[in-house]
Amino acid sequence: MIELLAPAGLAAAAALVVPVIVHLVRRSDRRVLSFAAMRYLRSRAHPRARLRVDRPLLLALRLMLLAGLAVLLALPAWREHASPARPWVVVAPGVDALAARAAVHAPLAEWHRLGNGFPPLPDATDAAALAADARLAAEPAPINTLLRQLDRDLLPTVALTLVVPESLADLDAERLQLGHAATWVPVLGSSPVRPPAGGAPDADRARGIAPAGAALRIAVRYDAVGASELPIVRALGAAWAADGRAIAWDIAASDAPLPPPPAWVFWLGGAVPESLRARTRAGAQVLVTRLAASCGEVVLDSPRGAVLRAQVLGQGRLLCWTDALRADASQALVAPDFPQRLWSVLAAPMRVPASAPARSVAPLAVTRDDFAPARSLVPPLAAALAALFLVERLVATRRRTRPAA
């Protein structure tokens, strides 16, 4: 199978126009001839304007030469054509073997489990193997790493069908790129997840959660409207103090400077200034009231709908309270467990998203040229072109048997 390593070189084929023009122009050009008996001549125009090609053999040789040069620039290479092989269906952990067989109809395919060594997937008849496979399906596995290994090891002609759970975990930072033709089939389910390894103290400190013994600082800034929300804030402070949490409050008008981080900020001042957003991105946790954010994860809800949404900004978090922080504006505030629920939201460790919808991380198709070594066709083609050039010179300089016509 011939393939071109630099297909842009074929653009040189545009030069094919040149010899055609040369041969046509030479044809239409009138030759000047000194002719003593001119007085007996009458002017006769060409019988008809007809494009005629001078020396078609030479033109064909020159066209072949130029076309060959264009192909030479495109770096042709020969690659052994691999014979087609049976397609593979690979089932990721988190998907039951029988569910995968029901989702994909591939009677000729080889079925494998995505795991170390890619063990074959049992069918419904073998109960013991099914039980072993179910254990394997419950184990977390680095999906991207395994798929890359499969992509590298499998013959290039094998068509892949990847059955994955809709919620994929254990991904890595790089988007999956496969050289094989792969069909991505998400089915219902989610990847098994490793148990969390415990919060990171560095992240907690950045967000203002103080180590045991030190008081947490909360800065409250309010404007004219926000002043009416202060009672709830004080009530929250009293409730949290009753729970034994040490908090240093800093309540001031919105034009007062904010304390240096780390500190939580309750912004009751309406629109969020850019300085506060920058502080959030640097890792602070900010609660803003009267901000109906449309996006963000719902972290607190009431029967009437979402009341608190969390937006991740940089390394920090912007918590948006939809309504005014007043008892008459939100029913959620009067619930007896509200301070505890809000505390648990505020103090919850920030989680890195551990899973992603399978459809959004479908592998990208790339062209891989390292499947089989390609043998360069440039030297034989160059030799052939040199021979063709010699022939062209021979034809071009051959003594012409009849006068130029």
Partner: protein
Amino acid sequence: MPCVLIPDDLRTRLRGLRFASRHPALRQGLGQHQGRSRGAGLEFEQYRAYEPGDEPRRVDWKLYARSDRFFVREAARDSPLSVWVLLDASASMAQADAARPAYSKFAAAKLLAACLAEVATLQGDSCGIASLSSKGVAVAPSGSGARHRDRLWLALEPMRTQGEWPIEAQLAPLWERILPETVVVIISDGLDAALPAFAARLAAARRQVLSLGLISCEERDFPFVGGYVFVDPETGAECRSDGAAARAEFLARFTAARTALARELARCGIRHVDHCLDEAPDVPLRRLLARA
């Protein structure tokens, strides 16, 4: 001196050629042609009555014994002939065939002139050569003998084509040199309109005029195909034409013009022979010098 102008085989074929004058030659001296001068000689011409002053040895004494009168025996003297070769050196004579670019009409004319000088020299006649062009008339004076023939060949060498057919005044020196009773061979391409009148004037004054018309192969065959711009070498006029389309009409008109030229010259008693450049040079000479 080795002959560079005439190839050896051509020179061999020239030996059979002879100038024959229709007019008795006037020149004094011994030659190979029938002369008008009478007197002592080999071939008997006539008897005439003795006149005082005749040499006594020319009296035919045997006849005196029979008739008792003095008669003087006279013989016709063979006289030498004078030959002039006139070359048309107008620019149109530079025409050559693409197949043989070095052999132009003028080169052929030089070769023919050299041949004629050779023929004249072989039979002891005097020969002169002149090239005629509007840029000047070059004359190699008449003379006889092998050395003069070599001088003529040398004089041929620098002659070049230029300009057009000369006007009347430029031809004046020729009238002084080309005496009556001479043989004049005009070698031209026959394309100049003034040529027939000039030849007729020469012929009218008791000169035997022969005309050699040179035709190139391209004029005879017109092998051109495709678009051409034909340029007249003398006037510079241009004619754009397609070779194949113009061929039939050109050949018809050209042939008609050559026929008309030959007929007009024949009316003045001038023998005209056409010569194509691909023929051997002795062929037209043989036809030209053939005895009528």
